[in-house]
Amino acid sequence: MSRKLLLEHINVPGINTLEVYRQKGGYRAVEKALKTLTPEEVVEEVKKSGLRGRGGAGFPTGMKWSFLAKPEGVARYLVCNADESEPGTFKDRYLMTYIPHALIEGMIVSSFALGAKVSYIYVRGEMMPQIRILEKAIAEAKAAGWLGKNILGTGYDLELYVQPGGGAYICGEETALLESLEGKRGNPRIKPPFPAIAGLYGCPTVVNNVESIAAVVPIINDGGEEYAKIGIGRSTGTKLISASGNLVKPGVYEIELGLPVEEFIYSDEYCGGIANGKKLKATVAGGSSVPILPANLTLKYANGEPRLMSYESLSEGGFATGTMMGSGGFIAFDEDQCIVRNTWNFARFYHHESCGQCSPCREGTGWMEKILHKIEHGHGTIEDVDLLWDVQRKIEGNTICPLGDAAAWPVASAIRHFRDEFEWHIKEPIKSQSQNYGLANYATPIEKAPVTEEK
């Protein structure tokens, strides 16, 4: 049984209330930080922990905090990114639903470390039930003196507010989120300046994911060094993985980073294998944006070594044979699933969610959706596959924010690993409307996967 830092008490009845959360040791981190540590010492502990941003980018949280500008007389803000919208990711919703106080406690400690007097939790608008849960928990915490003026008699003041979004994936991008929080369309800003210099209302701002902020609680309780002992290499600590798709037990799991992917998929402690006794065809390991991998490359590197659930191991082999940790949205596809249909679905998603600011993304995502629709419905030509490849290459790296890359990678990786399936749809237009391709050639174990740079 691996260590649980965030979900240890998830099954305790009433853990969503302040009373039970306190009984299980909740708000100790606030007491410790506010009474015995300076803000700089809290930042130092987070640096020592090696915690990396859990929203997808994996940037070290402590380092992000240390970039925050601190001009005299200017307000600083902490904004929690709870705009969880990456297909395949649902860990933040889970955490906020069942242990809202873990996020609030993390927000208090982190706001103290950054010197923020007002902090916001930006929750995607569809999560109205979670917004109500958080607002109730904030009211409880405030009534008990954990928020408001002069917290614990230390002279530190903090107000915490929940802000609903309006249903836009792009607002998970931190500068789009800040625009949205200012009451505008969610168009990402050109960087620099980074939010650490000019963020919300032009003031220095840190934007962190829900899970990153919740992880600050065990880091302060046990110390950054203790936290860093968990995990493997530069992937320290535990990570929430959202498991979905054709699995026996989909759901949210807290793993110690470094767990073998094979164990995660097949052991009864985690997903329990592929549902209905089917075979694994492919996985998307870190949310819809990361490259899709066939089963063999999911479980093992091209050289046959086992692949682990860690930032480094998942990206081993680059985009030729690897993928990314992303936000930890683990989607499993069984042998009955159609890669072309899924790629079309994802392309439609990115087309729908493109903010329209940059032409390569605005036009390219729509173009990709149309071509994939055509192939999926039996009207594709071989040239369409090359055109699709061409379009995705011209989106990648040519946009203000990473949504363009996020739209291009799933398409590129699907063609890279499952080109035979695309071609089958084109060569067998009628058959492909009533049958599925089944396990791809590449999905069966092969001796040595081709390691070529395709860029």
Binding site: A75, S85, G88, P164, A168, S244, G251, I331
Partner: protein, 170 residues
Amino acid sequence: MLKVEEQTPVQFSSELLAKFDDVKSRYPEGKQKSALLPLLHLVQAEFLWVPTSAMDKIAEYLNIQPIEVYEVATFYTMYFLKPQGKFALEVCRTGPCCLVGAEKILDHLENKLGIKEGEVTADGLFSFRGVECLAACGFGPVLQISPEYTFYENLTTESVDKLIEDLKNK
């Protein structure tokens, strides 16, 4: 598409305006525009959609230009720019939910309610549409019902039938 000429007169109750004031107090002086998204949600919860005249009144309340409200209301997908059913059903149609049968649920709703996506039933009770990922991929297929955004997981055609019956009797 937003039709600016379409005017449905609305009145904001004093209860609603009190909620507006509470939201506005969360932001620093002069940054009241931040209240825009929450205010639009409050209006939608009250009227079940966001008429243009309500947007104008919000602009007046926040002391901003009407266009600043229109551009936001049309950018975000949650705001209904035309009337919906009393129960607006939104089914997730993104990848992971489709792996476990979301498309079947959408087809079933279309047959069951006898309307196409985006239409309203003759009795005014129901409308439905497919929406993008609702962040509950492990419990799919899922749907939510506005304005409360009550959430239903692990849907089957049977559970959808039961849900519709329950809503009719509500």
